[in-house]
Structures are given as C-alpha cells and as structure tokens.
Symmetry: C2
Subunit: 344 residues, 2 copies
C-alpha cells in the first residue's frame, strides 16, 4: 500500500540505510545524496511507520501525560490547558502525547497506567497533585519525567512551576494600594506546592507591609480547591465572626465559591468586600463581577515541560531543577478601594 523506505531507496538509487540516515538527520551524508533522497521522499509522499521505527530503535515517540481523576473531573480547565500546551509543543518535536488519568487513591498494582507497563512512552509529564505511590512507580521505572505544578516528595527531579510567591505578592500589593489592611486568605491542603507558596506569598506580603498575620483570617482545612470548598471556607470565616475588607483565594475556583457565598449573604462585591483569585481560568472573566486574578501561562507551562522532557529523552541525561513561568496581575472588577467607615 503506502511506500516503504525500500521504495525510497530504490527511487533515489541509494541504500536503505542512507535513507534512514537522511530521515533521522544524521551526519555523514553527502548534501547531494541527501537532496536526492529528500526528493524521492517528497515524490512518493513517504512517511516512515512509527511502529517500525519504534521496534528497531526502542524509542516510542510517545510521551505520557498523567493526571488524577479529580483534577480532570473537577473540570478545571487549568490542567486541560497545560495538557494542550504539551500537545502543541510535542508536535514540533514529533512526539505524540498519550493522556491518562489515575485515581487519587492510587494502587500501584491496579492503577499503573497502561503505557507505563507496556513501555509505550519515552517519558512522562505528571501534572497537579500526584499520588505518592505513583511517584514511587515512576522513580523505579527510571523513565525521564517532569512534574508540572507539583513538587514530588523530596523535591528531586524536574519541576515546572509558576511563580506563586510573586503572584501572591502582586495580588496583595494591589489590595494594599486599594487601602485594604484586613485581608483574609482561603486555600486548600498545603501539601500542594502552589497552594503553599501562595500562602507563603500572602504572609510575606503582610510582613513586608508591616501588617501582623492573623490566623483567624485564614481558612485552609480542605483537600481540594474547588468552588464548593471556596464557598465553605468563606462560610467558615464568617461563622468565626472575623471581619475583613478583602479576600485572597488560593485559586479562581475558590474565589468564585467565595463570591457565591458573599452574594447569597447580601454582601456587594467589590463595594463591601474585594476578591482576588489566582490562575485566571476562563470562568473568571465571566464571573459576576469579573474576577481580579493572577494570570498564569498554562499552555506555556506544558510547553516548557515538553521541551525539558524532550531534551532529557534526546540526550539521555537526567536533568534536575525547577523552572518557573512568569505570572501577571489582571485587574478586573472584583476589587475596589476600601470604604473607610465600613467596619463589617
């Protein structure tokens, strides 16, 4: 049916192996020969078969992308966008991305992704919270891998993060400029590095501004950082009876949940309470009011991860380190100057 390397060789009048060298951009091919082979490839509309290449070279040309069920089913477009970023970038490097999800109650024997067992990937990207068991499996496999928006236990390996501390600082400075001093923080489990770093940023910003940290103004007991948790966290804050003029949420989803609670309880945003989120997901632009938040290059993170991974695959070297993507404050309508005489 479709032409093989043999056909190309015949047409170009060279040996199989020469065609192979050209295909893989190897040195030691005369420019003139190379051109001839290229022409033959062109004319035959030849495309090498992945499976044959894989079988012979032991390189699959695939990259695995692993995400927990939760991250995907909560439908946060956040990780979806990171995935997309990996997809686009992989194209340029001639890799396919195989996406799979694992339950967050990961059991190695049952839940290890198929492409890992079958050795069907040359490397993997792990995004968001990764179950400990999976980290271990990955390490044992000795497979190039990079974490995105997550730091594995021990902080070893390749990690792509956004600049969470800086973003949090930007958000807080914005609130300070608007005159806010009593600023609440809601977040989830601190085991997620992004959440922890944002929280750290919150505390550092307070310190820099000479404002004392108040544990009462913080709520972060839940695991996941969803709209629902944002709602609950805000409720918890109010039940404690603390007063504040602004609220910084660990991410947009929680910010949206917070806005829900506040609106339901008759508070006007931003007149009575200012809200700042983090991530700049699609929904933030369309929330009511549109959310002031910290923008993150989600696709960019995916692209960076792939570039790193491809480098490791190509050079067969283990790289270790943390790469950061920049963040940026996006001011919309959920923040406003504090009204002086308003103390609840």
């Amino acid at each position: 049916v479709s032409p093989t390397i043999k056909d190309v060789a015949k047409k170009a009048g060279v040996a199989l192996s020469t065609v192979s060298l050209v295909l893989n951009d190897r040195p030691n091919v005369a420019p003139e020969t190379k051109a001839r082979v290229r022409r033959a490839i062109e004319e035959l509309n030849y495309h090498p078969r992945r499976s044959a290449q894989t079988l012979a070279s032991h390189q699959t040309g695939n990259i695995g992308f692993i995400l927990t069920d939760d991250h995907f089913s909560h439908a946060e477009p956040f990780y979806t966008k990171i995935f997309l970023g990996t997809e686009f970038e992989s194209r340029d490097h001639n890799f396919y991305v195989l996406l799979t999800t694992v339950p967050n109650t990961f059991r190695p024997a049952l839940d290890t992704p198929r492409f890992l067992r079958e050795r069907n990937v040359d490397g993997v990207v792990l995004a968001g919270r990764v179950p400990r068991g999976l980290c271990k499996v990955i390490h044992r496999l000795d497979l190039p891998h990079v974490y995105v928006d997550f730091a594995p236990p021990g902080r070893r390996g390749n990690v792509v993060l956004m600049d969470n501390r800086h973003g949090a600082l930007l958000a807080m400075q914005h609130l300070f400029e608007l005159g806010h001093r009593r600023i609440a923080f809601i977040g989830g489990e601190l085991s997620h590095p992004s959440i922890r770093d944002r929280f750290d940023g919150y505390k550092n910003a307070l310190a820099e501004a000479g404002i004392g940290f108040e544990a009462n103004l913080v709520h972060l007991d839940r695991d996941y950082t969803t709209v629902r948790e944002g709602y609950r966290a805000t409720a918890a804050l109010f039940e404690k009876g603390v007063s504040f003029t602004a609220l910084f949420a660990a991410n947009d989803a929680m910010a949206i949940g917070a806005m829900q609670y506040l609106k339901e309880h008759g508070l006007t945003i931003p007149r009575e309470i200012s809200i700042v989120g983090y991530d700049d997901v699609e929904a933030s632009e369309h929330s009511d009011p549109p959310l002031t938040t910290v923008h993150v290059e989600k696709e960019g993170m995916g692209a960076i991860a792939i570039r790193r991974l491809v480098e490791m695959i190509r050079t067969k070297k283990k790289l270790v380190g943390t790469l950061y993507t920049p963040v940026e404050l996006v001011v919309r309508q959920s923040t406003a100057p504090v009204v002086p005489q308003n103390s609840k």
Copy 2:
C-alpha cells in the same frame, strides 16, 4: 530487559506462535496449554510490545480524536468531557487515544493531522464542527470514523448526537408551565446540527403550544456559540426593542453571556426574565443565578462513539447510522413564573 514472547514460550514449553494465539484470544488452543501460557505470562509479568504487534499486524491500537482549535481554545469543557469519555472507554478496549486539534481554516496539505499521514490510528473520532476539507480527507482515507455532535455534509457515516429536539422541547415546556409565552431564542450558525435541531425544537414547541413564531424574537447570526456571542445576541434583541419574558439560549455559554448583558442593564433574573441554557456545563452550576439547563451526558457520547468505532475496527465493516444520547432538564434558579403585569 523486559521479557519477550520468546521467554514466555520457553517458560511455558510451547512455540512462539502458540503464545501469540493465547495473547490474541484465538481459538484452537488446548485449554490446558492456554492455562500454562497464561501462568508463564503472569509469572514473567510479560506485556507484548505495541510496536511489534503493530508492525506485524498493521493494527496500531490507536484511535485519533480530532477537534478544531476553536472548540478547544474556547475552553468549553463540553468537548473536553467528550474526549475524556473516549479515553475511559478506549481503555477497556485496549486502545490509546491520540488527541489533536486542527485550525478551523483547515488546509489539507498543511493541517492534516500527523497521525493520519503516518497511518498511526485505526480509526478516528471527530467532535464538534469539522471543517469540510477534513471531512473529505477522512473519506478519502477510507478509515473507520465517527462524528460526535456534528453531522457531516451529506449526513452519511456514523454520527453520535444528543437528542437536541427533545431537549429543546423539555426546556420550552418548562417555560410554558411557568406561564411564559413570549420566549426569545439566541443561537449561532445553523450549520451546526445541534444548534439547528435546538432551534427546530424551539419552533416545534411553539407550534405545539399554539404560539405563533416571531422572527423578531430570534437572533442567530454569529458563527460561534460563545459567552461573547450570547452577550451580543441579547444586546441585538434589545436594540430591536422586542419584549419577552424568557430567553432560551442554544447553549450554556450563550445563556451566561445573555445573563451578563441582562444584569448589566438592570434586569433581574429570573424575576424579570427567565433564562434556559443547554449542555449543563460546569459553569452553569456556578453562574449567578445557577442556570436552568438541559443536561447532556458528555462522557457518555464519547463512550458510545468509541464502542461504535471499535466495532467497526474489529469487524472491518462500515456501519452507518445516528446514535442518540438522552437528555434531561435540570431546573435551577434562572427560571421563575412569569409576572403577569410586567410588560417589559
């Protein structure tokens, strides 16, 4: 490194080919032999290499999933969920899903997905609006394929749709029950079958209820059905000066855009205007007010598509037909009884 079929054969004391037969669940293997082979596989923790199987059998074990850039970058979780549905279902059939996007200005020579050129998939799923050029490419390839939430030109082939007419009817009946008679409709380009069917459902419902159709109450000039278009469409309706007590949007995104416009212009939802959407995307639950909408089994559609596709791949038969997934009305807080004396 990892065991091959040879190791299994040796361990089980049979020939290579016998192991292959067992692997592929072929008949004509003595039960006793089969058991022995199975044990050997188990003990060696053997997994066949995809690439070797592919090379020898010309079956890749991959399924392609194609989506336009727009559908993905608009970040409607709608198609993402369909994709997820295909992913999960594929697992059970031992297929991988390769996702790719194509520009909506599709040019065959440049934008044909790599996995198509490289013949790296056994079949493809095409979701949402598919550029005409791509349809042609697919047909020429003579590759098993199924469309999801889209009907190709000529309506031939396999199509998975939701019951849009019925869903629209449910939505309209709900509004009728609340006393609404003047109901506007906003939608996008009718070339998308779902949009057209929903519009048809709208018209049929009016007819059934004995209410005359008014072209003035309808706005559907734009291509895409996004939040922005919903906003614009609603604005257009108001500029025409028509009055209505309820609005049925072709999808949730447009409904959310409509709510934005209405709220900005001082209208209270649902007191002054009731809104119904379609799709039941994540955002609808968290909109303000939460949106009454028609729920669609998005993952289910993906799963159905895969089952059909796998059947075609396995049997090598071309199937033709349209499969429907059920829909269901979800009543939230964006709809309320019409207030009698309120005429704009």
